[in-house]
Symmetry: C2
Subunit: 393 residues, 2 copies
């Protein structure tokens, strides 16, 4: 048997809590990956993924690796050596895209904004004028490292006008806050399973629209990654069923069950739930004198980057939350290390109970770590916000 | 809930049957991927993987994707543009290696043998003389497409003498038949979880020895895949714990439990079990007039490629086995499509019961599909072979 594992409340940047039905799906005995029963399950997965991405794209499937491989899959399939890609860089994940673009032998034009801020459409327009041959523009919808929520619609229109492809990282938004792949003119989009879908990590949902598929089919060179080569993967997940790799059966069981839970809740009700709990958390934090690090008006519902007050020991607080409450929140990444805590309210983890718990736990721990706060302050404000905005349904 | 799935007996080329303890491990609620409890589990996984690979290599870990990504990880980390790689090509997986080598901008020297045959050490010696600057020689230990079992020791010595790196695909051998990474001078080796380890597909155990790590650290260019870049992954799985991607938590739970089962059984007892059941199956098939397609003396214990008798309809037989017995066996790949069945006896699927079942099921189905055989012929011969070689322990 596995060594005894603690039972954690997962309010970090992912994984989020996994529903017992998804855990049960994981434990289902396996069929073969070419079994007619598995092929049916693949079809249902594609159908529900399309609904969740709000797209009719035929090429919509889970890549057999984690969200980061979804990022790599989008870029290696769309870029060729010598291409130019305009990348929004305002956190860890835009920075990672630049890294991958360069590994493709392409040139990355960095569109920088301060961490926590969003990329402005004007900056995109300017970059497109300066690099008219850019093959794609990529931005991060939900920057997990900063909590910034990138508006997409205006950028989508600009990119389409210029004939480039619009690539969006939706790792921390899919299933948690509004995302409309078709309406917003997104050509390629990827996500992870362990955030707002509340499935364990291990798969990367991905969708390619007709323009992206066309670019893929017109490549002059082969895709540099065999494993992520969509010209082959589309035949495995498509009607041809040509063997490529062995799909991770159990993870696909889990993803399908997680997508069914999304479908049962309803995407809009799910978004509303995430909004409600984010607002309550923010109200509670504000009452305690704590603020979010991301730009006002562009704060994610799914991931809250909380500025650590001066003099407070980041690691000591997180260790106490873990030790005393079995409660995981995340630390900062890169330049935000030691400067923010990242509180995720994603998927099954986005509940009233968790909002009240994390606030009351912080109220217990912070005074011992150099930040005075009166017990009940944050919880009371959050409770008021919750009462003012009743849950749907 | 998931749609109702059939309960299959998995005797194809993988996935193999998964032990209930591994299924239970999959269903364990998740901790975070940087949780101290998960870090302990990573250490234990590395320890047991080393034991299973028979190595002391520090850099031994599961890549967060399926076995094919293990192949790509080995090649993209060890090759740079302009390098030469000598690749043994005698089936689908050697062919795939050539494909990946070329995507790395390297030159593949193909060392071909007929499908079903093994690569001779003399051919390797000759290729190394012809390409003295070759960076690596790669062969497939257990060719899943043909059932051929490649001897490695002599090749390992030749490659070491020439100063090249020896890369081995152990996808269908690790945990099922003898593999000695250190003793056989293997520099880099990868596998999959869904074969003889009897874990679901989704991870690729990989080990790099000191010479491979040295080559990795001396690279002139960056690894072309960000996701598979071992210079970063070694820091995530090493003492630094530097965030790279989010490890697939549940799959890692499953792998650890599967490795514990290997450890409890004992690697040599496990090999002996695979040998015993292969021999019984082969005896039974022979009594029915059926023969293996792989070279005599080099037939895998884990995967049996059975020549389809003339006039017998491949697909009809497999469909009947699936429909009437819930029994999965594999079809042929590439030039062996329609010419062989692939019967896997891997991990938990390698049992007396399964040997007797697959033979008796074939005895029922084949006469209807144009191949006359007297019921009991194969089963009787297999039972005799089993009686003559009692199970250990």
């Amino acid at each position: 048997m596995l060594p005894p594992l603690p039972t954690r409340i997962l309010l970090g940047p992912g994984p989020s809590a996994v529903h017992p039905r998804v855990l049960r799906a994981l434990a289902t005995p396996l069929v073969g990956h070419l079994d007619p029963a598995f092929l049916e399950l693949m079809e249902e997965t594609k159908r529900l993924l399309r609904a969740t991405f709000r797209t009719t794209n035929a090429l919509t499937l889970p890549i057999s690796a984690t969200g980061s491989a979804g990022m790599e899959a989008c870029l290696v399939n769309l870029l060729e050596p010598g291409d130019t890609a305009i990348i929004g860089v305002n956190g860890v994940f835009g920075t990672r895209m630049v890294d991958i673009v360069e590994r493709c032998g392409a040139t990355a034009v960095k569109l920088e904004a301060p961490w926590g801020h969003v990329i402005e459409p004007d900056a995109v327009a300017q970059a497109l004028r300066a690099a008219p041959d850019a093959r794609l523009v990529a931005v991060v919808h939900a920057e997990t490292s900063t909590g910034a929520w990138q508006p997409l619609e205006a950028i989508g229109r600009l990119v389409r006008e210029r004939g480039a492809l619009f690539v969006v990282d939706a790792v921390t938004s899919l299933g948690g806050c509004p995302l409309q792949v078709d309406d917003w003119l997104i050509d390629a989009c990827y996500s992870g399973t362990q955030k707002c879908l509340s499935c364990p990590p291990g798969l990367a949902p991905l969708t390619f629209g007709a323009r992206a598929v066309d670019a893929l089919h017109r490549r002059r060179s082969r895709v540099q990654s065999w494993y992520l080569d969509l010209t082959m993967i589309e035949k495995y997940w498509g009607d041809e069923r040509v063997y490529h790799h062995t799909a991770p059966i159990s993870m696909n069981y889990a993803l399908l069950e997680a997508l069914r839970l999304v479908d049962e809740e309803g995407l809009e009700a799910r978004w509303a739930r995430h909004e409600r709990h984010h607002r309550a958390l923010k109200a509670g934090l504000a009452a305690m004198g704590l603020e979010l690090a991301s730009q006002e008006g562009h704060q994610l519902w799914t991931l809250n980057a909380v500025r650590i007050p001066d003099g407070v020991d980041d690691a000591a607080v997180r260790a106490a939350l873990l030790r005393e409450f079995d409660l995981e929140i995340g630390g900062g990444l890169g330049p935000m290390k030691g400067r923010v805590w990242r509180i995720g309210l994603m998927g099954e983890s986005s509940t009233e109970a968790n909002v009240l718990l994390v606030l009351s736990a912080l109220e217990r721990v912070l005074p011992r770590c150099g930040y005075p706060t009166r017990p009940g302050t944050g919880v009371e404000a959050a409770a008021r916000a919750l009462a003012a905005s009743p849950a749907r349904g």
